[in-house]
Structures are given as structure tokens and as C-alpha cells.
């Protein structure tokens, strides 16, 4: 091996003391005859020695403290990290169990919310007994003054924002099926007055039934409706007024009735269910209003 390039490949092994004997002999033989390679090898060895002779640079005395401080900074986690840590520290929960837990929490939250609503809104709670006792003229809002009296209605339930006139008339299209006594107590506790009026016919308590009937008769034309029939019921002193009104006017009618007299939903004996009559762009509702004397 006499080629200078090939010889230079042996520099590394010879400098590191890893060259085998034939390689070392070959190198030294070549170096004796080749001053260029000899000089190169000398400088090569000098470079290696120079690199190895570089004095180690020591870290500052407080280096460890600085590293620890940096790690401390690293360890003051953000709120997000804390949440992540918390969540990741919780043992694995199977998906079904997790879903059931979430649903349970949601139900619990809803029941607490509902209870809170009853506590905060007095009318919300006071609706319950009314709803459970109405129907067939057995119940009713007390303290009413009658439609024709012109006096302000004082029942708390009506002044509740839950009973506002914004209740959609879409209730009219719901099939007539309500029997308040068949509805569980839990279900009847929540609905608003408007809901209770909604799908059923209307019952009006008034000390002066005739005046109340006349008042409604005056009101219906204003709502683009008409009186369809007028009957006396089997019970004494009760009257039923059949009115045909546009479904969009249903809310206005019930609002008027609420504002001027005691109104309660429910079908009494001999009272017909409301009927939705389709026609043109708007549908009409045949509604029976039962007038019963105040007690």
C-alpha cells in the first residue's frame, strides 16, 4: 500500500492506536519515503492532540441551582395543565359507565334546576294544585272577578311571566286528549297556564255568567272569529259558548280571557274538544268555552 490517499486513511487508526501491525508497518514505511505524507501525519496527530488538550470548561458554581430553578418553572403548571393532570390521574373509566355517569349528573342537575325554579318563582309552585284539580268545573282560579266585571285579574299565576301571551297557538293543533286526572302529579307540576289552556277547551269562572258570555261575544269578532253555538249544559247555571277563531288568534283570546277573568283548561262534561279546521292559508279552531259560576 503505497498510495498517499490510501495511506492517509490509516492516520485515524494509527493515532487511536487501533491499527494492526501490518497497517502500522505500511504507514511508517510510506512516511519514511514520502515527506508530504509525513508532514500531513505530523499535523494530523497535532490536530488530534490539540483537540484532546482543550481544557475542560467548568460550569458556574450555581449551575445545579440554575437547572433546578428552570425545572421549577417547568413544574408550575398552567390551569389547563392542572386540569389535564387531574383528568389523567383518574383511573380509566369504561365508556358505558362514563356515559351513565354523565346522564345521571345531567338528570341530577336538571332536577336541582327545576327545584330551584319552584323556589324562586312562586307562581311556578302554585300552579301545581290548580292543574291537578281542574277539569269538569271542579277547580278554578280563586279570586276572579269575572269577564264582564272589568276588574283586574289578581291571581298570581296569571301575573307570572310563564303565562304570557307569547304562548304559541300551535297548541291548538295538538289532538284533544287531556284528562288532567290521568296525568301524573310530576307531569302536571310544571306546565304553565298557557299550556294548560292549550289543547283543551276553556273554562271561565265568573260570578256573573251572562255578563261574561256577552263580553266574550263582543271580543270574538275583534279576533276575526264568530260565535258558532251557545248551549246550556246539564249543570245548572253553566253555559257553553262555541267560537270559531283563526288559530293565530288563539293566544290573543286566551290572553284576553286570562286578563279579564278566571280561566282554566279542561273539558267538562258535555263539552266538545277543540277542532282544527284547515282552510286557505290559515287554519281555524272551533273552541268551546264553558262558563261556570264562581264559588
Amino acid at each position: 500500500m503505497s498510495d498517499c490517499k490510501e495511506i492517509s486513511e490509516l492516520f485515524l487508526a494509527c493515532c487511536d492506536g487501533e491499527a494492526d501491525e501490518p497497517s502500522e508497518t505500511s504507514l511508517h514505511t510510506h512516511l519514511t519515503d514520502c515527506p508530504t505524507c509525513s508532514e500531513d501525519f505530523r499535523l494530523y496527530r497535532f490536530a488530534v492532540q490539540s483537540l484532546g488538550s482543550l481544557e475542560p470548561v467548568a460550569p458556574p458554581p450555581d449551575f445545579l441551582a440554575q437547572v433546578n430553578a428552570r425545572l421549577d418553572d417547568l413544574h408550575s403548571p398552567s390551569l389547563l395543565d392542572q386540569i389535564k393532570d387531574y383528568l389523567s390521574s383518574v383511573p380509566y373509566i369504561p365508556l358505558p359507565v362514563g356515559l351513565v355517569a354523565i346522564l345521571f349528573l345531567a338528570a341530577l342537575g336538571f332536577s336541582v334546576y327545576k327545584q330551584t325554579l319552584i323556589d324562586i318563582v312562586p307562581g311556578f309552585a302554585s300552579d301545581k294544585p290548580l292543574a291537578t284539580t281542574h277539569g269538569g268545573g271542579a277547580g278554578g282560579i280563586q279570586g276572579s272577578k269575572g269577564i264582564g266585571s272589568g276588574a283586574a285579574y289578581t291571581a298570581e299565576a296569571v301575573s307570572s311571566p310563564l303565562a304570557g301571551p307569547s304562548s304559541p297557538p300551535s297548541h291548538v293543533s295538538v289532538p284533544f286528549s287531556t284528562n288532567p286526572h290521568s296525568v301524573p302529579l310530576e307531569m302536571t307540576a310544571a306546565p304553565t297556564i298557557a299550556d294548560r289552556i292549550g289543547a283543551d277547551n276553556l273554562t271561565v269562572e265568573s260570578p256573573r255568567i251572562d255578563a261574561a258570555v256577552q263580553s266574550v261575544k263582543r271580543l270574538v269578532p275583534d279576533l276575526n272569529g264568530k260565535i258558532v253555538n251557545e248551549d246550556a249544559t246539564t249543570r245548572a247555571k253553566e253555559k257553553v259558548l262555541g267560537v270559531m277563531i283563526p288559530s293565530r288568534a288563539y293566544g290573543d283570546l286566551t290572553t284576553e280571557l286570562i286578563n279579564h277573568g278566571a280561566v282554566e283548561a279542561g273539558a267538562g262534561t258535555g263539552v266538545h274538544p277543540p277542532q282544527k279546521l284547515e282552510g286557505g292559508h290559515d287554519s281555524s279552531v272551533l273552541l268551546h268555552i264553558r262558563f261556570i259560576p264562581s264559588r
Binding site: D40, Y44, F46, A47, S50, P59, Q66
Partner: protein, 219 residues
């Protein structure tokens, strides 16, 4: 007596010796492993012990990469921080020191590239720029001293550091690991994820570059 039984006996003895030697605990490796395990369990004191043990080597490596104390301090801290954050990924296949040097080498090379891109070595008055190569020639060492004195002189130290700074990142990395930190080829091959032959040839090329740079100065 035929030599056959003696040979068998000799081989048996040799095997026993090898087994005993190989079963001897490696105090360094075991200690590091135990400390790493403690660190993973959250023992910061154990990590402090590891830092204390390797801080000189890592700081020196960092300094050789960036050639400046302030930068080296920051880089060394970054290396230890990265090691701490990734301790759970240390599988124990290699020695902890090898793993640590792997992090150090990667971070050092990246920092060097970053600083070079930003012209740090130029603004520092060092090298890293072709226009600045004459800086080596301005510091011609005094030949009247012995080779030992010459190598130990601050002037020579500066020249060698400047020569290192001028190396390509890959050459710089391997020169630092082998000629400055004194790691074995096997360790370097593991750190750089290269075959041992490639490691040696790369080191040879890097040394040749350093040699040429020093040759210019010496002339």
C-alpha cells in the same frame, strides 16, 4: 499426558472468569439506572445527583458547540431540562450517559446551527464566516515553546476552538464527542445512530479539516 485435558481445563477456567467478570455489577450504570428510576417516580433529588454527576461533561460539550460561556450555560441547562422531561422515555437499552449525550449532541448541533444562521459567531468576532477566516492567522502561536506548552497555551486553545467553530455541524459534533469528550466509537455510533465504519470515516474527514485549519495557522 496429552494436552487435550489441559486445554479443556483452561477453557473451563476461562469461561468461569468471563462469567464472573460479566456478572460483576457495573457500579456506574446501576447507580444511574437507580437514579433514573427514582427520577421517573418524581424524586427531584435523584435528578440533582445526575446533574451533579454529568454537569462538567455536558457543560464542556455545550461550550465546545457554542464557544461562549453564557450560551453554553443556557444550552447545558436546556439539555438537562430536556433530559428531565424525557426521562420516562429512557428505556435503559443504552447507558444513561449515552442517552444524555445523544440529547446533548442534538441540542448542541441545533443551537450551533441556529446561532450560525443568526450570525452570532460573526458578531462575536469569532468564525463561522468565510470573511473571518483570517482570524486564525492573526493568532500565530509562538514556536519557541515546547509542544506541551504550546498546546496548553490560551492562545492555542483559542485557535483550536475557532477551528472547531468553523467545522460543519456534523464534523463538529463528532470531533467533540470523540476527541474532546473521549467517547468510544461504539458510544458515538449509538449516539449518532450511524454504523461504526461511517463514524470513523466521518471523524477522519473532520480531523483532516481541523488539520488543514491548524496547518494554515502554523504556517
Amino acid at each position: 499426558m496429552p494436552p487435550f485435558p489441559e486445554t479443556i481445563l483452561f477453557c473451563l477456567c476461562l469461561n468461569i472468569v468471563v462469567l464472573i467478570v460479566s456478572s460483576l455489577p457495573n457500579p456506574d450504570g446501576d447507580e444511574d439506572k437507580a437514579l433514573v428510576e427514582a427520577c421517573v417516580r418524581g424524586d427531584r433529588e435523584a435528578f440533582s445527583k445526575l446533574v451533579a454527576k454529568y454537569q462538567r461533561k455536558i457543560y464542556n460539550l455545550a461550550f465546545r458547540f457554542v464557544g461562549d460561556n453564557e450560551e453554553a450555560n443556557d444550552l447545558a441547562q436546556e439539555i438537562f431540562t430536556a433530559a428531565y422531561q424525557n426521562l420516562s422515555k429512557f428505556r435503559g437499552d443504552a447507558k444513561f450517559s449515552t442517552w444524555l449525550f445523544q440529547i446533548a449532541s442534538n441540542r448542541g448541533k441545533n443551537r450551533f446551527k441556529y446561532l450560525k444562521r443568526r450570525g452570532y459567531f460573526v458578531s462575536r468576532g469569532g468564525t463561522g464566516n468565510d470573511d473571518d477566516k483570517d482570524s486564525l492567522h492573526r493568532e500565530v502561536p509562538d514556536d519557541s515553546r515546547s509542544p506541551e506548552e504550546l498546546l496548553a497555551s490560551k492562545q492555542m486553545q483559542r485557535i483550536v476552538q475557532d477551528a472547531i467553530d468553523e467545522l460543519e455541524p456534523d464534523h463538529k459534533e463528532i470531533v467533540i464527542l470523540r476527541d474532546i469528550e473521549g467517547l468510544s466509537y461504539e458510544e458515538i455510533a449509538t449516539i449518532l445512530n450511524l454504523p461504526e465504519g461511517t463514524t470513523k470515516s466521518r471523524l477522519h474527514r473532520a480531523r483532516m479539516v481541523v488539520k488543514e485549519k491548524l496547518k494554515k495557522v502554523m504556517q
